[in-house]
Amino acid sequence: MTFLLDVKGLNVRFRTEFGLVHAVNEVSFSVSKGETLAVVGESGSGKSVTALALMRLLDRTALIDGEASFEGVNLFTMSEKEMQKIRGARIGMIFQDPMTALNPVFTVGDQIAEVVLIHRDCTKQEAKTRAIEMMGLVGIPDSRRRVDQYPHEFSGGMRQRAMIAMAIANSPSLLIADEPTTALDVTVQAQVMEVIRSVQESIGLTVMLITHDLGLVAGFADRIQVMYAGQLVETAERDRIFYETRNPYTRALLDSIPSQLGVPGTELKTIGGNPPSLLSPPPGCLFQPRCVHATEDCRMTRPELKSVGQNHLSRCLRSSDLGVLR
């Protein structure tokens, strides 16, 4: 099977005034064409850094190593010029905060048309026409008028739609959506997810959806990948993650959600403590201090990502002896 994106051994470290921050450690994963991969994890678990590393958009303090082959080329070894041809053309990306992600001084139309203009051989007029078309596609009403408006004249949801329009204007094969709805209200979140879904269907997009909201991916993702402290801890088909997780962290995460299906007013299950420091990660399992299943062994031995079923990997020393966690 060939993958659209195949990441092997990705490490990202940041040089900071306090020392090296190990933001992403030995992350390997792959995305097949047409599928929706969700990356979930708590804040600081390295979701965004992974995405930005793939796009090579991290600043100069980041040290990246690993391999990322996308459509058969290694993203990390190509020149900056070649990378520019991929960004916005082959891979589109949308960000968390639609309020700040659009340049306030250019019209929305200009910003969408620009991405068309630089990647395609077309006139300004054609680019603008394309922009209007894309705005229509993502459900911005009255796009002919709104194409000339500035971002501040758009609501948050509309801005995120504009971002999507921009990201897919060149019909990329991969869309990386980094928490596209976190800043939005539920009703608008529903709208935006709807847009992504329909766009995905209409142009056959592969989507890598980054989020911390497990609820959001329940109805959306094909495959889910859980990150913790810069590591991939579990990856599997969606339902397996929800119903047959083999990883204590995933389990704890699922349990801590006050669900509408749960009993209100009861004590929630929590994950005690805080994620570990990424500056000097302790030996052993990184989740061990917070894990209810931890043993002495977990403190000393760093677990590997192991296959625990079909297309199901989990990083836990006790994966096999704990079985499916409920």
């Binding site: 040089r15 900071t16 005034e17 306090f18 020392g19 921050v21 600043d59 303090t61 929590t270 005690g272 403590g273 805080n274 570990p276 420091s277 990424l278 500056l279 201090p289 917070r290």
Partner: protein, 297 residues
């Protein structure tokens, strides 16, 4: 309860507790240009205040038989037109310049902080009144203000400091006003209000300490500006009157000699330029240290 408290696992921090100030200090210490500048500044100021005492000459001891001498062992910086020792005069000049600059920054900071904080915190007509006052000072050309007031009061170092602060407080006031306006909407200020704290307490405990950073940076700029302005005023004949030396009037007095006795101009000039240069580096370091977003490697 099951909550597990583990403070020591927080990112990047050991058991040692660091206040915001200490953290900033740590960042500052890593700013090499700023630290070097601070060190040199201290050396310079020490020299200004003590080196003059090593000399056998008084700053105003005239000896017309020793006019315009070149640097020698006896007179390390040479002598001036009426035979006064330039080393002592330069050191004392530095002392007066630094004093003027310090007084200016102290006074301007006090006025600017108080008025800026009042304007920013109370808003409405108080703000309008103070802002208009600031605008008033800003639209009148600085030189008029300086010329008018320096003529009358600028002859003594203290008078000059008063005049300069009267002009320069606006900058601080604007900065403070901006920061206060930004902070007074902050939730921690609302929190203080919510527990019934009075405005005085809120401003003094919650707002002003947060203004310190920006003001500190402004003060360094102010110090530099004051020293440069002092010398510019001397150029126009409005500065401190003789025989009291300041770096400014020392340069002014010898600027004509730049062609044939460049050292005479360059020595006091050196002190002005490097003092301001170091002050600026210091300010830069402070700004970086106090900026939470700073990303220095």
């Amino acid at each position: 309860m099951t909550d597990l408290v583990d403070v020591n696992s927080r990112e990047g921090l050991g058991a040692e507790s660091l206040s915001f100030g200490r953290l900033a200090l740590r960042r500052f210490v890593r700013h090499r240009p700023a630290i070097v500048s601070l060190f040199l500044l201290i050396l310079m100021v020490l020299a200004f205040f003590f080196a003059g005492r090593l000399s056998n000459f008084a700053f105003d001891a005239v000896d017309v038989t020793k006019r315009l001498e070149n640097p020698s062992r006896e007179h390390p910086f040479g002598t001036d037109e009426i035979g006064r020792d330039l080393f002592v005069r330069t050191m004392l000049g530095g002392q007066y310049s630094v004093r003027v600059a310090l007084q200016v920054s102290l006074l301007a900071t006090a006025i600017g902080t108080i008025l800026g904080a009042i304007a920013g915190y109370f808003g409405r007509w108080v703000d309008t009144a103070i802002s208009q006052m600031i605008n008033l000072i800003l639209i009148v050309p600085a030189l008029i203000v300086l010329a008018v007031f320096a003529q009358r009061f600028g002859g003594s170092p203290v008078g000059l400091a008063l005049v300069l602060s009267g002009l320069l407080w606006t900058r601080i006031a604007r900065v403070v006003r901006g920061v206060v306006m930004q902070y007074k909407e902050q939730e921690f200020v609302l929190a203080a209000k919510a527990v019934g704290a009075k405005p005085g307490r809120i401003v003094a405990r919650h707002i002003l300490p947060n203004v310190v950073g920006s003001v500190l940076v402004e003060i360094t700029l102010l110090l530099g500006t004051a020293i440069v302005l002092e010398s510019t005023l001397s150029f126009l004949g409005l500065g401190v009157q003789p025989p009291i030396p300041t770096l400014g009037n020392l340069i002014q007095q010898s600027k004509g000699a730049i062609d044939d006795a460049p050292l005479r101009v360059l020595l006091p000039g050196f002190f002005v330029v490097f003092f301001v240069l170091f002050i600026n580096f210091l300010g830069d370091g402070l700004r970086d240290a106090l900026d939470p977003r700073s990303k220095r490697q």
